[in-house]
């Protein structure tokens, strides 16, 4: 029996020893590497290289960026037609503000341009409960304190460990590969067109609202740690002095109707209110709330799913954004306070 007792203790000690080693390695890497400034998004970096670091990049007047709600909703060619400004779309699915800020810093984008920066935001970026894959970026995790990481992922700690190991690996791999220049072909200056239309008859919008699954609103907690990081990232980007438009995109009317008076609607409005307040802290940051306003401009037929416009909708939306950019240009020329222009009712 003693042999088995000793064997059990040795096995558990090996397990615990490895756990301690892992924690120490994690702490060591976090302290010794500039992980909080890393980008961890290949596609975004490829877009930056392709559109902003090339020769053509010097002529870019409008940088459309953010997450999928800019990637699939803002058409550079429409912006060009309406404003005469050269626009590119470097937005990438799941990209949050802190990754964007890190990307700008890494490639010194904002030091070398006075382009308009148009940034989409989505509620998953600031919801502490949305910690699933694609809803909390590596850059966000490494900007969180160790204690905050544990707090956010308290229900999913092994997932956090697993993910962090993956990110460390990605970090070292991307450094090893950094010498290779990656340039990729992107159609329509980075805009990702989706032409389908949402199927409202397939049951996803029928029935009990409480049974509708949406990971963005999972365990909604706001403002929290992700919001602090969001604020910090906005401060970083705003410090460049470039004119910045930040927007909460429109939602599909069917979804808005269904979520009316639910916590999801309240959360979105709360998010918009906080964004507005945050934008007012800076002279060069302007917030546009498409979630609450201009609802009549978008029909169900303009969406391909609950949160994303299809090409038809993107065309309308890009025109609206172009109009805002034009307004902003006017304020610059006429020395009118931009905040006043944007707070006035729009067409």
């Amino acid at each position: 029996m003693k042999t088995y007792k000793r064997w059990t203790i040795i096995t558990l000690l090996i397990f615990l020893g490895l756990m301690v080693l892992l924690v120490l390695t994690d702490l060591g890497l976090t302290v010794s590497l500039p992980l909080d400034e890393a980008v961890f998004n290949k596609e975004f970096e490829e877009k930056v290289r392709t559109f902003l670091l090339s020769e053509d990049g010097k002529a870019v007047d409008v940088i459309l960026c953010g997450d999928s709600r800019a990637e699939r909703q803002l058409i550079p060619d429409v912006v060009k037609d309406r404003t005469g400004l050269n626009a590119v779309n470097i937005a990438t699915k799941g990209l949050d503000l802190v990754t964007l800020a890190n990307g700008f810093k890494k490639y010194s984008i904002l030091q070398n341009t006075d382009a308009f920066i148009v940034i989409s935001t989505s509620i998953f970026q600031i919801n502490d409960g949305a910690v699933g894959d694609g809803y909390t970026t590596p850059a966000c995790i490494f900007n969180l304190k160790w204690t905050s990481q544990i707090k956010l992922f308290k229900k999913y700690l092994p997932y956090l460990i697993d993910k962090k190991m993956e990110y460390y690996w990605d970090y070292f791999k991307s450094h090893a590969e950094s010498a290779k220049s990656r340039k990729k072909e992107f159609l329509e200056k980075g805009y990702l067109a989706i032409t389908e239309t949402i199927e409202l008859s397939d049951g996803q919008l029928k029935g009990d609202i409480n049974k509708i699954t949406h990971p963005w609103y999972k365990d909604f907690t706001f403002p929290g740690r992700k919001w602090e990081i969001f604020q910090r990232a906005l401060r970083d980007i705003a410090s460049s002095g470039n004119p910045i438009i930040i927007f909460n995109p429109p939602g599909c009317p069917a979804w808005l109707e269904l979520t009316q008076n639910t916590f999801m609607d309240a959360a979105e409005r709360q998010f918009s209110a906080f964004l507005k307040q945050e934008a007012q802290k800076y002279d060069n940051v302007f917030f546009l709330d498409f979630y609450s306003e201009n609802r009549k401009s978008f029909t169900n037929g303009m969406f391909y799913n609950l949160q994303h416009l299809n090409r038809k909708g993107a065309d309308v939306f890009s025109r609206m954004i172009s109009q805002d950019i034009s307004e902003l240009l006017k304020t610059r020329k006429n020395d009118v306070k931009a905040q006043e222009v944007f707070s006035a009712p729009r067409n």
């Binding site: 064997w7 558990l12 090996i14 490895l18 756990m19 229900k155 949406h214 929290g224």
Partner: protein, 512 residues
């Protein structure tokens, strides 16, 4: 201002998964298991053996109620009803016993029929009557298929007079013992209840703890590190509408074959390990099934406890092989069809059962023919034939619909074309393939991710075919004298599994 908004019932499916206390969840490993173990042996130390058993029953019910407290009432009812029916059967004789037996089984089948099959039957009736079907909001209680089967077997044995008088606490523990409650192994009362009656079950046994740690850690490793690695490739292959080409279809189907094996056998190993922690030896459920060289052999190695149940309580009562070859084949088909239906209320499961029944009939037939002509199929060919048949059958088990399953099968047979990755091929080879009308594409267009998937498939093949299973390995390394090498392997496996735990958190067999 700080707001934390939650909505009742929001994200229901997600929460159901989160609310099951899985063996690979923190709450189970860090809190539930150590606390239950301590309380069980502490009570036993003060010579309160019945209290120990009671603690284990309560802990098992807490384990079950963690998912949905409402259904504790169902399992309590099921335990109380079957125990009472069993006692009546033991006391009664003749036709009265038969009435009790029919009543008992009818109630058990009624419960499982309502919760598991009501929507399925209503849907089919509506379909036949050409009427629209609105599924009823019926929630499938976890593990109902497992605890119902165990209790039906108990009632049948009570009727045959094969049971000894059992105390309620031991019976309740036999049904609700948490390691096997939700996804088996299907335990036989004759194997389990006597263990609860033994004094030494309630004394700490370090050999069993060591064995338990070995089984649990390696089972957790199989589940979280190997099985879960396949889940995204399986989902990508089966859940999309994309027409999969030859390699993609095989990639998806082989991935599922390994996912379900490592998932379910990992779960079974964990259950056996947990049993050992409490000095209860649970039956082996898997014995390297992918080493099988015939379908008959496969079913002796795969889900052994279910096969044993179907054999003892269905196949043999139907007449088994005693009534001639034709009747034997009919019996085999009926048993396997019902086995398929047991796995889920869908025609794809039934068809999976039919396929296995059919394969078994063919297997028996050819075995007889080969015996007559004195021929033995080379074991490599026999293995290959068995493995391919099983893999084809898994397609129907996993696919959401017949159409999707047929589509994947078509792909596996090459009807959807052959596409190879051009980045892995020298230009000259690609040119030759092009002439042969075999398409080559760049990585980006692939639905699956072959390099990682291929590596995992190779690893899984090696583990399944060339390595001993956990039982064999523990016999080699732990039985006489536990080796340091085993401690290193188990410690590392536990560590790796612990890290991987958060990736996907659901055992495939929970849904059956």
């Amino acid at each position: 201002m700080r707001i934390s908004l939650r909505s009742n019932g929001f994200n229901v499916c997600q929460r159901i998964l989160e609310s099951i206390m899985l063996f690979n969840s923190y709450i189970f490993i860090i809190f539930f298991l150590p606390i239950t173990w301590l309380m069980f042996f502490l009570a036993a130390r003060y010579r309160k053996v019945d209290v120990s058993a009671g603690i284990l029953v309560v802990a098992s019910l807490i384990f079950y109620s963690y998912w949905n407290p409402k259904f504790v009432l169902l399992i309590l009812f099921s335990i109380a009803f079957n125990y009472a029916a069993g006692r009546c059967l033991e006391k009664a004789g003749g036709s009265r016993a038969k009435v009790y037996l029919i009543l008992g089984i009818a109630v058990d089948l009624g419960l499982i029929g309502y919760f598991k099959y009501a929507n399925f039957f209503l849907e089919n009736i509506s379909h036949l009557a050409d009427r629209p079907f609105q599924p009823r909001d019926i929630f499938l209680p976890l593990g109902i298929s497992f605890f119902t089967f165990q209790q039906i077997a108990y009632l049948l044995d009570c009727y045959k007079g094969l049971t000894k008088e059992n105390r309620l606490v031991h019976y309740a523990l036999f049904v609700s013992f948490f390691p096997q409650l939700i996804a088996g192994p299907i335990v036989h009362h004759g194997d389990i209840i006597p263990q609860f009656k033994k004094e030494h079950t309630y004394r700490i046994n370090y050999q069993n703890i060591a064995l338990g740690l070995c089984f649990f850690s390696l089972g957790l490793f199989k589940k979280t590190v190997i099985a879960d690695s396949f889940s995204s490739w399986v989902a990508e292959g089966f859940d999309s509408d994309a027409q999969l080409t030859l390699l993609e279809s095989w990639g998806a189907s082989l991935s599922y074959a390994f996912q379900i094996y490592f998932d379910f056998s990992g779960y079974s190993d964990m259950a056996i390990g947990l049993g050992y922690f409490f000095n209860i030896e649970l039956p082996l459920n898997f014995n390297s099934p992918y080493k099988a060289t015939s379908i008959i052999d496969f079913w002796r190695r795969w889900h052994i406890t279910l096969s044993a149940f179907l054999r003892d309580y269905l196949y043999i009562p139907l007449g088994g092989n005693r009534k001639g070859p034709v009747r034997r084949f009919v019996n085999l088909l009926v048993v396997m069809l019902l086995g398929g239906l047991w796995h889920g209320a869908s025609w794809t499961f039934v068809f999976w059962g039919f396929l296995h029944g059919f394969f078994m009939c063919v297997n028996h037939l050819f075995r007889k023919i080969f015996q007559r002509i004195n021929y033995t199929l080379p074991s490599a060919a026999a293995w290959c034939l068995t493995f391919v048949s099983v893999t084809f059958a898994w397609v129907f088990f996993r696919a959401e619909s017949f159409n999707r399953a047929l589509d994947i099968c078509k792909g596996m047979l090459g009807f959807n074309g052959v596409v190879l990755r051009s980045d892995h091929l020298p230009d000259s080879v690609a040119a030759v393939l092009h002439k042969l009308n075999i398409q080559t594409v760049w990585v980006g267009k692939w639905h699956l991710d072959p390099p990682e998937q291929r590596n995992m498939l190779i690893i899984a093949f090696i583990i399944c075919l060339f390595l001993p299973n956990v039982r064999e390995w523990s016999d080699q390394t732990m039985k006489t004298r536990p080796r340091l090498f085993a401690a290193v392997v188990v410690g590392c496996a536990l560590f790796t599994a612990f890290i991987f735990t958060g990736r996907v958190a659901e055992f495939l067999y929970y849904q059956f």
